[in-house]
């Protein structure tokens, strides 16, 4: 179950960044995608859109700062909690 969520996140990211000519192998799952320049803030939000559709969930950022959820690991934790 855990690995499935993570691999689905990685797959979604993969199709988005391949368009930008970045290989998924270059991504460190602990590092912020926005701070390392993989995604800018607006393409990051588009990526969040992708994830909402993929997992059939809705993020609620009225209490959370999206900048704290910019690594694969932090997104994974966020989604795992929403799926509970």
């Amino acid at each position: 179950m855990e690995d499935e969520i993570k691999s689905r996140i990685i797959n979604k990211l993969k199709s988005r960044i391949e368009l930008l000519g970045i290989s998924i192998n270059e991504i460190d799952e602990n590092e912020s995608l926005t701070q390392t320049g993989v995604l800018d803030s607006f393409s990051f939000l588009e990526f969040m859109n992708d994830l909402e559709a993929e997992f059939n969930i809705e993020f609620d950022f009225s209490q959370l700062d999206p900048s704290e959820f910019t690594s694969i690991i932090s997104l994974y934790t966020l989604i795992k909690n929403l799926k509970k």
């Binding site: 988005r16 803030s41 939000l45 950022f61």
Partner: protein, 524 residues
């Protein structure tokens, strides 16, 4: 008046007030005045005859005190942007013919590539220790480093040269156009806005815009002329600033509508989320009614206004106040909020293609004159002639905005479309032809057409480009090369290759049909 004096007067009245909050640190007016004085002294020591000094710093105390120091020394500032590709920063450096640059510690790595390509001597003013300067920069023979002495502080305010700042906008010939804005232009704007909002020293202003975007001048100088505090929104919070607004209890908000749209999309605009806000302004692109309404609900104690204004007319020149009590009475066109009335301090005309004024409810080009309106583009006679005209019956110099508008019976204006191929992406002006020319120079194809796409609630999210070509295999390469030359908001998100282009009945390219050819299976 030198606009530095707005800051100076507040420093004299409120030396212990907070002037700036950036990078987690707070700085009083007294402290920033000291830093500014040190930069001013350094600029004077350079003995540079150019009217402009460059600034390469990003969301740091160096950036803000550097701007003040340049102005205090009597010069105008030219901001570069670490988010731009280095070729564009180099271009701006060359077009503005600056000989001196203030360099922030935080953007050294972005400075190396373009400073290494500069083939003329450049003074670089540094406000940190020599040991912290990158060895790659130190070994560059063209660079003459000047290290700021924090003991040597200039207290005087020099008589200003004409211009306060010089910004560059996208140009349809492929070269960006330099827009010089005078101290008088800015004073006219700031005095009008100060009068309108009656800003008090306890206010807390947001600062979301990059310094290469003139709306940042509103943030800085409306704030500092009032003795208020400027809160620089960190890059990482720009995408969802709800928490930043709440944690810092901001009272003045100013951003592009896109930020509001994204925040709405991610449920950051819950009713009464931002009770601290008193004034919320949006500018730079169309304001969708749904964004205005959601923002008004989230910031229920705030007035919400839509501001319109080209860079040439200094920051903003018209406004529309959203009616919070009865949202239904708000004026819209295609679900986009009216741009309202031109500031009473400035003049306008709406003219047809023969420069004759149009009747009410007729579409025409908005032309602007007055103290806020600049008179020329930098070293660009052709663009100046086209953009700045004298009509037969007037002594005024009029700026032709290229924006087609209609006016209703109460004098409120509505943006209809552009006269040319300029679009707005995240508030930035983009000449589609500049993108087309860039792509044409990368590949040897003659026909390239770019479209704003996708457009959501009237706001363009990006650009897609179409290339008439028999082969279709270089998409990634073209996008990569565009990234080296264009700011990221101008880089096409996709390149679509077509063997033939859809034409309309007049044998012109049918842009609507073209848009339908965009594959929709991608991305989502």
């Amino acid at each position: 008046m030198n606009i530095f004096n707005y800051f100076r007067q507040s420093f004299i009245k409120y030396p212990h007030n907070t002037a700036l909050v950036v990078d987690g640190s707070q700085y009083t007016y007294e402290k920033i005045n000291e830093y500014s004085g040190a930069f001013s002294e350094a600029v004077k020591q350079m003995g540079d005859r150019s009217p402009f000094i460059g600034l390469f710093a990003h969301r740091s105390v160096t950036a803000y005190s550097g701007i003040l120091g340049i102005l205090q020394s009597g010069k105008g500032y030219v901001p570069l942007n670490p988010k731009f590709p280095h070729s564009r920063n180099k271009l701006i450096l060359n077009l503005s013919q600056i000989n001196t640059l203030i360099l922030g510690k935080e953007v050294q790595s972005e400075a190396i590539p373009f400073l290494n390509e500069i083939s003329r001597p450049l003074n670089v003013i540094i406000d940190f220790a020599k040991e912290e300067v990158s060895p790659e920069l130190l070994s560059n023979k063209n660079l003459n480093f000047f290290f700021i002495n924090k003991e040597k502080i200039s207290n005087t305010v020099e008589g200003e040269s004409t211009h306060a700042y010089l910004l560059f906008t996208s140009g349809s010939t492929g070269l960006p156009k330099g827009v010089p804005i005078s101290h008088n232009n800015v004073c006219s704007y700031i005095n009008y806005m100060f009068e309108r909002y009656q800003v008090i020293p306890s206010e807390k202003f947001s600062q979301t815009f990059d310094l290469t975007f003139d709306l940042s001048v509103h943030d800085m100088f409306l704030c500092w002329c009032s003795g208020a505090a400027l809160y620089c929104v960190p890059e990482k919070s720009l995408m969802g600033p709800a928490k930043f607004i709440i944690d810092n209890k901001l009272t003045y908000w100013f951003s592009v509508p896109s930020v509001g749209m994204f925040m709405n999309r991610f449920k950051m605009l819950r009713p009464n989320s931002f009770p601290s806000l008193k004034v919320s302004l949006f500018c730079g692109e169309p304001l969708p009614a749904v964004v205005a309404e959601s923002w008004q609900n989230a910031a229920s104690n705030s007035i919400v206004e839509n501001i319109y204004g080209p860079t040439e007319t200094t920051i903003g020149i018209s406004h529309y106040r959203y009616n919070a009590t009865t949202p239904d009475v708000n004026k819209t066109l295609n679900e986009i909020i009216s741009i309202g009335k031109i500031f009473s301090s400035q003049q306008y005309k709406i003219v047809d293609e023969f420069d004759k004024e149009v009747m009410q409810d007729e579409v025409g080009e908005l032309c602007l004159a007055g103290e806020q309106v600049t008179s020329n583009y930098l070293n660009n006679i052709e663009a100046t002639k086209k953009g700045f005209v004298r009509f037969n019956d007037s002594e005024n110099l009029w700026y032709k905005t290229g924006d087609l508008v209609v006016q209703d019976s109460e004098g409120d204006l509505f943006f209809k479309s552009r006269k040319d191929f300029q679009v707005k992406i995240l508030g930035h002006r983009v000449e589609l032809e500049e993108i087309n020319l860039c792509i044409k120079s990368i590949i040897s194809e003659n026909t390239v057409i770019s479209l704003p796409y996708p457009v959501q609630d009237g706001i363009a999210q990006g650009v897609y480009s179409f290339v008439l070509s028999d082969t279709a295999n270089k998409e990634q390469e073209i996008i990569d090369q565009c990234k080296q030359r264009l700011p990221d908001y101008m880089v096409p998100k996709r390149i679509i290759f077509l063997k033939e282009l859809p034409l309309n009945d007049n044998k012109k390219i049918d842009l609507k049909k073209l848009e339908k050819l965009i594959p929709t299976s991608n991305g989502r």
